[in-house]
Amino acid sequence: MADKMKQSYALKLVAGFTDGDERTISIDNPRSDITAADIRALDSLARDVIIGDKYGAPFQTFKDAGIQETTTVYLDLEETP
């Protein structure tokens, strides 16, 4: 048995709040064809729904978005040295 590699993807959305606070919302298995317009469309939906985690400030806008690729290597522990 050899080591195994697995790749996973997550959409990272940086939400900005009116008090200057930011937090990142991570969503697994994003589509590969997400556009900036898709993210902009979320702004109006998130308003009055999510709040800042420090002082509960209202949501303002998604400041940044990106797809993060993570490669995990699963070591073969049964392999003899």
């Binding site: 959409l11 937090r23 919302i25 969503i27 697994d28 298995n29 994003p30 589509r31 997400i34 898709d38 469309a41 979320l42 939906l45 998130a46 009055d48 729904v49 999510i50 709040i51 800042g52 985690d53 509960g56 209202p58």
Partner: protein, 167 residues
């Protein structure tokens, strides 16, 4: 104490595996329809499908402090005369209490003795005249400390011989 509301999204991916995604810090005034719309829009950006949205409310009690078990009892009976009077306090806190009479400006001069946790009013302080019979309400306040919450307690006396307080 902080109440935290989360929307837990149940999502099924293309491999028919079901997973939960927690969307934290939901506004307590958020409309449920808007929460679902946001959940749908977020999951629409993925390869999965939204099966359900559950709202979960949790109270963070990590920094919750106990109340200091404040009790106040009179050392002087109702119908007090011109003698000095006092209240006995009991509380499990290192805070210094304050006493504030409701009849501000007419009745005052409470002195706190930390050694025996009593508030005293000496008759020799020359208390101004109070109509009698008069119910005197005093509020004892303990400030918040690093270990205990703030607390208040009230105590009342019936003053039947107020003329003895004339200065």
């Amino acid at each position: 104490m902080a109440t935290k509301i989360s929307a837990v999204l149940t999502v099924t991916d293309t491999n028919q595996k079901t997973a939960s995604k927690s969307l934290t810090d939901i506004s307590p005034t958020a409309d449920k329809g808007r929460i679902v719309n946001l959940a749908r829009a977020l999951v629409a950006l993925t390869t999965g499908t939204l099966d359900g949205v559950e709202l979960v409310t949790k109270e963070d009690i990590t920094n919750e402090k106990p109340a200091p078990n404040l009790t106040v009892t009179p050392n002087t009976a109702n119908g007090l005369s011109g003698d000095a009077m006092s209240f006995q306090l009991a509380f499990d806190s290192d805070a210094t209490p304050t006493a504030s009479p409701i009849l501000k400006g007419q009745y005052g001069g409470f002195t706190y003795n930390a050694a025996n946790k009593t508030f005293n009013v000496a008759a020799t302080q020359g208390l101004p005249y109070i109509e009698h019979p008069t119910t005197i309400t005093v509020t004892i306040s303990l400030p918040e400390t690093s270990q205990y919450k703030a607390a208040t307690a009230t105590i009342e006396w019936q003053n039947m011989q107020a003329d003895l307080f004339n200065s």
